[in-house]
């Protein structure tokens, strides 16, 4: 998707441009972050439609805060992860009495091409196992091992200590391994 703006501009600079009336800045920020926000939300709540609604709401909050954005105080990505996390928690609490099958089975959006089937099965198995983790462990594992954030960044997003992040990711990973053991044949594990 072509944009007129220089893609080397920082997120902070884009926020300032947007706040000053540059519409292209919003397109560039959306291009940079929407996919990440949707992916993160989908892994936390296992529902594509809800994840998209949450991503849209998180972006709305970003636009609203733009005129008051303080450069250098927080990274746009960290801010978005935190807002998305909070929106997901709200959604999960609303759905706490929902059918467990709906939560446990993420939508299979695998492409029909045979060559991609195995890859898709692995991701699907991981998503299913992630959905079985307690909420905080799931968030920590997704942020650490899939989104690739550092422990201090995760501690900022989850508003907990770095030690608590380390504990959550370690326990989460152990639980994931246990959960995936039952699907080792499907995953090609020996």
């Amino acid at each position: 998707m072509p944009f007129d703006l220089d893609d080397t501009l920082s997120d902070d600079a884009l926020m300032v441009l947007y706040a000053n009336g540059d519409a292209e800045a919003a397109r560039e920020l959306t291009h940079r972050h929407l996919g990440t926000v949707v992916a993160f939300a989908r892994r936390l709540i296992s529902n594509v439609a809800d994840a998209e609604d949450i991503a849209q709401e998180a972006m709305v909050r970003l636009w609203k805060i733009a005129p008051h954005w303080r450069q250098g105080e927080a990274k746009v990505t960290t801010w978005l992860y935190r807002v998305t996390r909070n929106l997901c928690i709200d959604k999960l609490r609303q759905k706490s009495f929902a059918d467990i099958d709906e939560i446990a089975e993420p939508a299979d959006e695998a492409p029909s091409v045979q060559a991609k089937l195995e890859h898709s099965q692995r991701v699907s198995a991981l998503d299913t196992a992630l959905a079985e983790l307690p909420e905080r462990q799931r968030m920590a594992v997704v942020l650490r091992h899939i989104e690739g954030l550092s422990n201090p960044e995760i501690s900022e997003i989850m508003e907990i200590s770095v030690e608590a992040v380390e504990s959550l990711t370690a326990r989460g990973k152990r639980m994931l391994k246990t959960a995936l053991e039952s699907r080792k044949k499907e995953l090609g594990w020996t």
Binding site: Y18, A19, G21, A23, A26, R27, L29, T30, H31, L34, G35, T36, V38, A39, R42, R43, E52, A55, Q56, M59, V60, W63, K64, A66, P67, H119, R122, V123, A125, L126, D127, H145, I146, G148, K173, L176, K177, L180, L187, W189
Partner: protein, 114 residues
Amino acid sequence: MSERDTDIEMLFDAARAEKQLTSTTLFDRVVNDAETIQTQFLRQADDGPASTASRTPVWKFLGGWVTAISFATCTAAGVYLGYVAPDYLSLFSPTASSMTDLVLQDFATMTEGL
């Protein structure tokens, strides 16, 4: 790193490699939101605080209805008391001369034996 750790890292790699493709519809919804919100706050900025103040009645700055009702009640009470002038009010408002007389009498009594 154990064999199972390696296996799970492969799953994480697979998940990282799978880019979440956002639908064009969602992208457009988000950009439309951005434009709407941008228009709103730019319009507010153009209006400025002076315009906001001009839209607010002066009496609201002075306390609004609460102040107006209190003021009206006090005015009515003042007019009524001024018109009726009940006798008992004089007990609370001795004239300056009678007060002076009372103080001088007390002083004279106290200093009588000196």
